[in-house]
Structure formats: C-alpha cells, structure tokens
Amino acid sequence: MGTDVQLIQQHLQGDPQATRALIERHQDLVYNLARRLLGDAEEARDAAQETFLRALESLAGFRGDCTFSTWLYRSAANTCIARSRQRRQRRSREVPAADREPADESAPSSLDLVEQGERDEQLHQAVAELAEPYRVVIALHYFQQLTGAEVAQVLEVPEGTVKARLFRAQRLLQRKLNPRGGRKIR
C-alpha cells in the first residue's frame, strides 16, 4: 500500500482500490473523533461517512499544504461541529428552555465512589457538556493524541490559543467532575 499522496493520485485517476485503501487507513481516526465529539454511535457513523464523502469529492483541491490526515481531521471536526449545532438547534426547538432539566450543580464528587465504567461515562458526559471550542481541543489532543502544534494546524489557530483553550477546558472539566473541590476559574 502506498503513501497517502500516492493513494490520492491513484484515487484521482479513478482507482477504486486506492479510494477504499485511503478510507480504511483513516476511518478509525475519523470515527473516533466523531464519536468523541458527538457521543452517539449512529450520529458518529453518519458524520464519518459525510466527512469521507466530502473529502473524496474535494480531493482534487487538496494542495498538500499540510498532511492529508490534518486536512481530513479539519474536515471531520468541521462536519461534527456543524452536526452538533444542528442537533442543539433541533433540541432547543423540541424542548422549551423552561422545561429542560437544569444541570445538577450539587452532585457530590464521585471520583472515588463509582466503578470505572461509570467514571468513564461521567468523564464523557463532562466533555460533551463543554462549549464547542473546548470540546474540540480536548478531543483532538487527548483522544486523538495530537500535539498542541498539530491541533493548531487542524484548527488553523495559533498554538498559544490551543494551549489556552486546553488549560481552560481542563479547569472546566475539573469543576464539572469535582464541583466542590475545584477552584474558581478566573
């Protein structure tokens, strides 16, 4: 199997095997990001499919300014952000704000009280509740294991911005996970 660039060239020449190889090489990373950003497995699958379809259709315009995976991550992140916003808008139309269940601010710290599965669920829930810019940097940095510089390239923002968002995201997560133990964020 060739490099990404070779596979892209073969795909553009109409080689369906190259197209399949390109998808299979990156599908875990794209799906994992979608799953972490959207939560729901079906929604993540749809987002991953949409990401690949869009990417394949616009590959002729890929200039190689960054690696293919960075370009694909950017596309996946944008697709997930758009889907996430649509979902939020749908929900806000379906359930009036006054009827929505308020966040449980008084929940006790459960770090040492619950099983691992529940702790993971709690962590994912806390990440899911973060505002979009923080959720995206957490997903790219921790779940996709990209460096700060790589996250900056994907999001097309300065590395300092990524670091600041990560720092603030960690503070917000700590507050959500340990409402009584975290310090106030300035």
Binding site: G14, T19, R20, I23, D28, Y31, L53, A60, Q170
Partner: protein, 162 residues
C-alpha cells in the same frame, strides 16, 4: 493554596511528566510542587483519565458504506471526466472501440451491407451497455456509452448508399 497562575507552568508539563520526558531536575521540582498543591494533584488525575480513554474503532463496514453512498450520489460537475471518465473511457476505447474503428477502416471498401452489419452490432452493444448500466450504475456506463456513440457516428460517416 498556590495562586492559580503559579500552577500553570507545572500543568503545562503534565504530558511530559506522564510520558517521562522531564529532566531529573524538572521532575524533582514537579514532584515537590505536586506534594504541596492539591489542585495540581487533582488536575494530574484528570490528565491521566483523559489520556487513558481508549480509542473507538470504526464500524467494519464504514468504507463499504462510503463507497456505496458515493456511487449513489449524483455526480458533481466534471466528476466523470476528472476521475472515472478518463480511465473508464480510455479503457472502453482500448477494449471495445479501437478494434471496431480498425474494423471500420478495413471495411471502408467492403460495401454497405457489411458496414450496416457493424453498425447494427454497435447498436446492440449500446443497448447492452444501457441495460448493464442500470446494474452497475450510470457513472461506469456513461463513458462506455459515450465511446460507442462516437464510434457509431464515425461509422455512419457520409450517408451510406442504399
């Protein structure tokens, strides 16, 4: 408690600390800070939890689903020519059309009946391609149909004597 901003240099080092990338001097300073700072211990525990989240594998049929959806979508403008068109049309010419063009050249002096026979065979090929196109998807069949139409047009040439 340590002022919030004082912790940031240490918290920026969490990744390096967990991956064992700190120098001995940095590791010592880091450990001392951790001992004194409950907030950083808590933050480090969160860092560990985030890094320990296992990756989720894509569904096994994701690539197949993308390829199927791609075939089902209407072709964007210029898509056939830029991708399938070039290769499929070239292949069609090489395997189907070139031999027929060669046959046409050889039949130039052979008279109308034989030329009509070849034209009829090409019409049959076209309808076969059309039927197969419904099965294989129009994207694959269109370049082949296009190629066979060109051959028919070439074969038609000047009006054939009756």
């Amino acid at each position: 408690m340590t002022p919030y901003d004082d912790c940031r240099p240490f918290q920026d080092q969490f990744g390096d600390y967990l991956l064992g990338r700190l120098s001995p001097a940095e590791a010592l300073g880091f450990a001392q800070h951790l001992r004194d700072c409950a907030a950083c211990r808590q933050a480090l525990a969160l860092e560990r939890r985030l890094r320990a989240v296992p990756p989720v594998a894509a569904p096994a049929d994701l690539a197949a689903a993308v390829l199927a959806q791609r075939l089902a979508r209407p072709a964007p403008s210029g898509w056939i020519r830029s991708t399938l068109g070039n290769t499929a049309a070239d292949a069609a010419f090489r395997t189907l059309v070139d031999p027929l063009l060669q046959l046409d050249l050889e039949l130039r002096g052979a008279g109308a009946p034989l030329r009509r026979l070849v034209a009829g065979a090409l019409a049959g090929l076209q309808s076969h391609l059309y039927r197969e196109g419904n099965k294989l998807g129009q994207r694959l069949a269109l370049p082949l149909l296009d190629a066979s139409r060109q051959v028919r047009a070439a074969l038609a040439g000047p009006p054939m004597p009756q």
